[in-house]
C-alpha cells in the first residue's frame, strides 16, 4: 500500500497549523514585537528555494539555466537581508528585556 507523499505533507501542514496556533497564542503580549520580527526572519527559509535555483546545472538546464541562476542569486540576497536583519534585530530587542536587579 504505497501512500502518496502529498498526503503526508498535508498531514504535516495540518498539524503544524495546530502547533502554530497554540505556540503563538502562548507568546506573552510583552514580546509581540519581537514575535513579528522573528517570524519575519524564519519566513526567509524561502532561501532554500533560492539555493536550489542557484545550484541549477547549466548543462542540463539549457537556456533557462542562466535565468534561473540569476534570479536565484537575487533571491538569495533578498532572503539573506531578512535572515540576518530579522534575527539580529530580534536579538537586539530581546537583549533589552531585563529583570529588576536584585540589590
Amino acid at each position: 500500500m504505497e501512500i502518496d507523499p502529498f498526503i503526508f505533507r498535508l498531514s504535516i501542514f495540518v498539524l503544524a497549523i495546530f502547533v502554530g496556533y497554540y505556540v503563538v497564542w502562548s507568546v506573552t503580549p510583552a514580546l509581540h514585537t519581537p514575535l513579528m520580527s522573528v517570524t519575519n526572519a524564519i519566513s526567509s527559509v524561502i532561501i532554500v528555494g533560492a539555493l536550489l535555483a542557484v545550484a541549477v546545472d547549466l548543462l542540463a538546464a539549457g537556456e533557462g539555466g542562466w535565468i534561473a541562476k540569476i534570479f536565484g542569486v537575487i533571491a538569495v540576497a533578498l532572503a539573506s537581508v531578512n535572515i540576518f536583519g530579522g534575527f539580529l534585530v530580534t536579538q537586539r530587542m530581546l537583549a533589552m528585556y531585563k529583570k529588576k536587579e536584585k540589590k
Partner: protein, 467 residues
C-alpha cells in the same frame, strides 16, 4: 547526503523554528529561542547546500556574493534601526520576502529540473498551480508591504486614498489573475508571458488593495500580509516537497493571523472585514471640533509635587510616548521617584501604541525591568488604590466612553481604569484626540490635571523639578 537524511534535517529545522517561537512565552527563555531559530536556519541552509550541492566554483561564488551583500545590508540595518521604527522595518523586510518568493517561482519556471517538478514547457500541473498561487501572493505581499512601509515611514501621506470604483477594480484584477493562472497551467508552463502578467497584476493589486487604508491601520495590514506570506511559503513548500518550509509557513501564517486578530479585538473592529481587505478609509478623525469646557491645567512643578508625595504611581504610556521618544526620560523620572519611596508600575494596554507589544519594547529599551510592567488584566484592579495615574501620550486606551457610550467607535474595547486613581495626569501636546478620533471625557474630570507639551520635554522638566 541522502534524501531521507535531508528530510530529517528539514524536520529538525522546522522543530527548531517552533521552539524559537515557544521561547517567546517569556523574556527569560526568549533569547535562547532566538538562538535556536538561527540554528534552525543554518541547518536548513546547510542541508540544502549538501543535498543540491552547487556544481562549480562560480555557483559557490554567486551564493557567497548573495549572502554577503544581503547579510551585510541586513546586519547593518538591524544594528542601526531605532526601536520606534520597528513597524516600518517589519514592513520593509516583509516586502523582501515577497519579492524573493517571486524570484524563486520565476526560477522554477525557467529551470524546473532544478526543483524536480518537470521540464521547461512541461511542468507538473499541481506544481504550476502551487507556483502561481505562490507568485501571486508573493507579489501582493511585496507591493502591499512597500505601501505600508511608505505610509508608516512618512514617505507617503497616511491619509486613505480612495480610488474610484475600487472594489470593482480589485475584483477585475483578481479575475484577470485567476484567468492568467488557468492559461499558465493549461500551457504546462510554456507561456512564460502569463507568469509575468500575473506578477505585474498582483503587484498592482497589492497597491490598489492597500492605498485606501489609513496610515494608522497599517500595522494590521502588515500583520495580515505576514499571514498571507506564511501561507504562500507553505505553498512553495509543497512544490519543493520541503517540510521546513511547510512547517514555517504554518507558523508564520498563524502568527500573522493571531496578531491581526488581537489588534482587531483590541480596537473592537471585525476580523473578517480586515482579512477581506475591504476596510479602512472611514476612520472618523473628528479632531477639528473645538471644545469649550474648561480643563484643569498644570505645570511640571505641580506634577513633580503631586508625585513626590504619592505612595504609588501607575504610568500609562501610549503612542505619544513613542512619537516623542520619551521612554528614557520616563525611566529617569521613575528612578527619581523610587528614591523618594514612591512605588512605580507601568500599565500596558494590549493595543497601546501602533503595534502589538510596542510599549513593552520601548520600555525595555530604556532599561525598565519587565517585572514592573503589567498587562491590563493584571493591573486594572490596582488603579483604585493608586495615588497617581501618569498618562503619557496615551488617549484612546483610557477613554471611558468605550464602556459607557454604545455609539462610540471604540465601544466595547477594554479600557485602563485610570480615572479611578486619586489624581490623573495627562501628558500630551494639546486637546488633540487619538487614533480613533474620539473626544476623551476624562480631560474634563475634577481629578484630572492636563500637562500640555511634548511628552519627552515635559517629563524632563518634571525630572528637573524633582531635583
Amino acid at each position: 547526503m541522502t534524501a531521507d537524511l535531508a528530510a530529517l534535517l528539514y524536520l529538525v529545522s522546522g522543530v527548531l523554528f517552533i521552539l524559537a517561537l515557544r521561547g517567546l512565552s517569556n523574556p527569560e527563555s526568549s533569547r535562547r529561542g532566538n538562538n535556536l531559530g538561527m540554528i534552525g536556519m543554518a541547518i536548513a541552509v546547510g542541508t540544502t547546500l549538501a543535498v543540491a550541492a552547487p556544481p562549480d566554483a562560480l555557483t559557490w561564488g554567486l551564493i557567497a556574493l548573495g549572502v554577503a551583500v544581503g547579510g551585510t545590508v541586513g546586519a547593518i540595518t538591524a544594528r542601526r534601526i531605532a526601536m520606534t521604527a520597528m513597524p516600518q522595518l517589519v514592513a520593509a523586510f516583509h516586502s523582501l520576502v515577497g519579492l524573493a518568493a517571486v524570484f524563486v517561482a520565476a526560477a522554477a519556471l525557467y529551470a524546473p529540473q532544478a526543483f524536480g517538478i518537470g521540464e521547461v514547457g512541461n511542468i507538473h500541473m499541481q506544481s504550476l498551480i502551487e507556483m502561481s498561487l505562490g507568485v501571486a501572493i508573493g507579489a501582493i505581499t511585496f507591493s502591499g508591504s512597500i505601501i505600508a512601509f511608505a505610509k508608516l515611514n512618512g514617505n507617503m501621506s497616511g491619509a486613505p486614498i480612495i480610488l474610484p470604483a475600487r472594489h470593482i477594480l480589485n475584483i477585475a484584477i483578481f479575475g484577470a489573475i485567476i484567468a492568467l493562472i488557468v492559461m499558465l497551467v493549461m500551457s504546462h508552463g510554456a507561456d512564460t508571458w502569463t507568469f509575468w502578467a500575473i506578477t505585474v497584476l498582483a503587484i498592482v493589486l497589492g497597491v490598489t488593495l492597500i492605498v485606501p487604508i489609513g496610515g494608522a491601520d497599517m500595522p494590521v495590514v502588515v500583520s495580515m500580509l505576514n499571514s498571507y506570506s506564511g501561507w504562500a511559503a507553505a505553498g512553495i513548500g509543497f512544490t519543493l516537497e520541503n517540510s521546513a518550509l511547510i512547517i514555517t509557513g504554518a507558523l508564520v501564517g498563524s502568527s500573522g493571523a493571531i496578531l491581526s486578530y488581537i489588534m482587531c479585538k483590541g480596537m473592537n473592529r471585525s476580523f473578517i472585514s480586515v482579512i477581506l481587505g475591504g476596510f479602512g478609509g472611514e476612520v472618523a478623525h473628528a479632531a477639528g471640533k473645538t471644545e469649550t469646557r474648561p480643563v484643569k491645567l498644570g505645570s511640571a512643578e505641580d506634577a513633580a509635587f503631586i508625585m513626590k508625595n504619592a505612595s504609588s504611581v501607575i504610568v500609562v504610556p501610549g503612542y505619544g510616548m513613542a512619537v516623542a521618544q520619551a521612554q528614557h526620560a520616563l525611566h529617569e523620572m521613575a528612578n527619581k521617584l523610587k528614591k523618594e519611596g514612591v512605588k512605580i508600575s507601568y500599565a500596558i494596554h494590549p493595543v497601546a501604541g501602533r503595534m502589538p507589544g510596542h510599549m513593552n519594547v520601548l520600555l525595555a529599551e530604556a532599561n525598565v525591568p519587565y517585572d514592573e510592567v503589567f498587562e491590563l488584566d493584571d493591573i486594572n484592579s490596582q488603579f483604585p488604590t493608586a495615588d497617581v495615574a501618569y498618562v503619557i501620550g496615551a488617549n484612546d486606551v483610557t477613554n471611558p466612553s468605550a464602556k459607557t457610550d454604545p455609539k462610540s467607535p471604540i465601544y466595547g474595547m477594554p479600557i485602563l481604569d485610570v480615572e479611578k486613581a486619586k489624581t490623573v495626569l495627562f501628558i500630551k501636546r494639546g486637546m488633540g484626540s487619538g487614533y480613533a478620533g474620539v473626544e476623551n471625557e476624562l480631560f474634563f474630570r475634577d481629578n484630572t490635571m492636563m500637562l500640555f507639551g511634548d511628552a519627552k520635554k515635559m517629563t524632563e522638566e518634571i525630572v528637573k523639578a524633582l531635583g
